[in-house]
């Protein structure tokens, strides 16, 4: 028996006692967004009801308490990543973090200058949020975007790594774990190559940080981003981590990110304030810290083990079915818990709708990673993604559900 008690965990999540279409909810869409435990909602509520004011703006008691709460949240998040307080910037989501760096690198004072002949490297498995900002940066500057392709089993094709990441590469952005395929990438190999050619590195940790212990500074990368809503925190908060944020010029201008403002020009505050223009995501940051505390108390390794068991159960179960195939690695090795699958003869949209009728929530579509679908020649997939609150019964329900879907659509 393991110390991780999933039934106790489930009790912390009010929504899990809900019914959908007369069935108990089976929530297998945490890679889109996770549910929130009482503890997180409660931490945010107490903060807002008792200690709320704007932050960094006053000497009165509430404003001091709010500032304390907000900055303590930053310290908690930093500790969760093994990082330092001033390396943490709160954004509204991970997408803002990618755009922050993409725009800052084009602003006066940028540590790199991008222009025609320069290259930005990504991979074919990126979420649109770690792809489109670089496409736009390339378009604005005349730089060229290049990418690593995928192997048939959903891994990065490293055979042309040295060509894609080369002396002209100024920045290499890639995901830690793919949201569509579940693939975990070899960060060390990719970073080693980037260092050889002097490229900055940016790792998308959106699908890793919620699910496994990540010591961010030890990855050796320059930037790292993730998002709160996929790790038990409220929507509306994300994080940019940077090794040396003070080397980066600002992105958005406004209140709080400044030092001296004159009509004729302004100077800017040091990081992290420099990158938090305007009133920040105050109570959301407090919620994110409570989420980190919740995850830490359970232990990230225990969570990872729990999810790996569920992923194995799901992969084994699908393998035993006829007419269903998985996109991406089909073992739990170097793999997250998101499992994309295709049911022969039934469009993913219909799979998702029919499963919903059984109370089972999976996501269908291109999962904001359209190039991966194109690479594997499917218009879309269904994706089941589990988290700490899912149990073996959820996976059983899904597997039985898939069989029922096949029957309903007459493909079995």
């Amino acid at each position: 028996m393991t110390a991780f008690d999933v039934e106790a965990v489930r009790k912390d999540f009010p929504v899990l006692s809900r019914e959908v279409h007369g069935h108990p909810l089976v929530y297998l869409d945490s890679a889109s967004s996770s549910q929130k435990p009482r503890q997180v909602l409660e931490a945010e509520r107490i903060f807002v009801e008792e200690h709320y004011a704007n932050v960094h703006r006053g000497v009165h008691t509430l404003s001091q308490e709010a500032t304390d709460g907000y900055e303590a949240a930053r310290s908690t998040v930093a500790a969760f990543l093994g990082a330092r307080h001033e390396e943490i910037v709160f954004t509204k989501n991970a997408t803002e973090a990618f755009n922050l760096v993409a725009y800052a690198l084009g602003n006066p004072g940028s540590p790199v200058r991008l222009g025609p002949g320069d290259e930005i490297a990504v991979t074919e498995m990126e979420h649109h949020s770690n792809l489109v900002p670089w496409q736009m940066l390339a378009e604005r500057t005349g730089a060229t975007l290049r990418w690593l392709g995928l192997t048939d089993d959903g891994r990065l094709d490293l055979s042309d790594l040295d060509e894609v990441v080369n002396e002209r590469t100024k920045l290499f952005a890639f995901t830690h774990v793919s949201n569509l395929l579940g693939t975990e990438n070899p960060v060390d190999v990719l970073v080693a190559r980037a260092k050889q050619v002097g490229a900055l590195t940016f790792v998308d940790g959106v699908q890793s940080v919620p699910h496994q212990a990540v010591n961010v500074p030890s990855l050796g990368v320059d930037f790292f981003a993730f998002t709160g809503h996929k790790m038990l925190a409220p929507s509306g908060v994300g994080v940019l981590w940077g090794r040396d944020l003070n080397a980066l010029p600002p992105f958005m201008g406004g209140g709080s990110m400044i030092e001296v403002v004159q009509m004729s020009g302004s100077t800017y505050a040091a990081a992290p304030e420099r990158f938090e223009a305007g009133t920040p995501v105050i109570s959301q940051a407090v919620g994110l810290a409570a989420a980190c505390d919740y995850l830490t108390a359970l232990g990230m390794d225990a969570i990872k083990d729990h999810e790996t068991a569920l992923t194995a159960q799901l992969l084994d179960g699908i393998r035993a079915l006829d007419g269903v195939s998985v996109l991406g690695p089909d073992t739990t090795e170097l793999r997250g818990s998101a499992v994309s699958f295709v049911v022969d003869g039934v469009h993913p949209h219909d799979v998702g709708q029919s499963l919903d009728d059984l109370g089972i929530a999976v996501r269908v579509g291109h999962h904001c990673a359209a190039p991966v679908c194109r690479r594997f020649g499917v218009p879309a997939t269904a994706r089941a993604s589990s988290y700490l609150y899912n149990n073996a019964a959820d996976i059983d329900a899904l597997l039985e559900g898939i069989v029922k879907v096949q029957a309903f659509w007459g493909v079995r």
């Binding site: 469009h347 993913p348 949209h349």
Partner: protein, 153 residues
């Protein structure tokens, strides 16, 4: 899979049109061909129209997608082919209104025939786009065809 909900969404009529689509396949002659996609799910349709003397002479199509998008395009061809353009456009409007009604409109079987089966789909905003894919393509292609005729005259 026999809850009330499935029944509203996946009526037998829809499943029939999905399994045995009407008028499917691209045909000649045609005035205009368009290609529409639903980026969120990858559904696509290529659709041709021929408009002659104020009549919807032909609508042919090819595509891939979910049951809703395929069935609704099939239903549409039944409803529009051979009809006067004005009537076809008002049928289009009636279907659009139904789909945007979030389950609150009682569809008129005289106007929409098999199309009334989609009343249940209108409760599912995420699927409304599927149901409208073919219809939007037809509207677009027809507008272009009419514009061409005007230019030519």
């Amino acid at each position: 899979m026999s809850t009330a909900d499935t029944d509203t969404m996946y009526q037998e009529i829809i499943l029939d049109h999905y399994r045995y689509p009407h008028h499917k396949g691209l045909r000649d002659p045609y005035d205009v061909e368009v290609h529409h996609t639903n980026p969120t799910c990858g559904d696509e349709v290529t659709l041709r129209v021929q408009v002659l003397a104020g009549l919807v002479k032909d609508v042919s199509y090819d595509g891939q997608g979910c049951s809703i998008s395929q069935a609704s395009t099939s239903v549409m061809t039944d409803l529009l082919i051979g009809k006067p353009l004005a009537q076809a456009l008002s049928t289009h409007e009636a279907f659009l209104a139904l789909m945007q009604s979030r389950g609150t409109l009682e569809p008129d079987e005289n106007v929409l025939e098999d199309g009334i089966a989609f009343a249940g789909v209108s409760k599912y905003p995420a699927r409304v786009k599927c149901a409208l894919l073919g219809w939007m393509a037809w509207k677009d292609a027809t507008a272009q065809a009419v514009a061409q005729t005007k230019e030519a005259s």
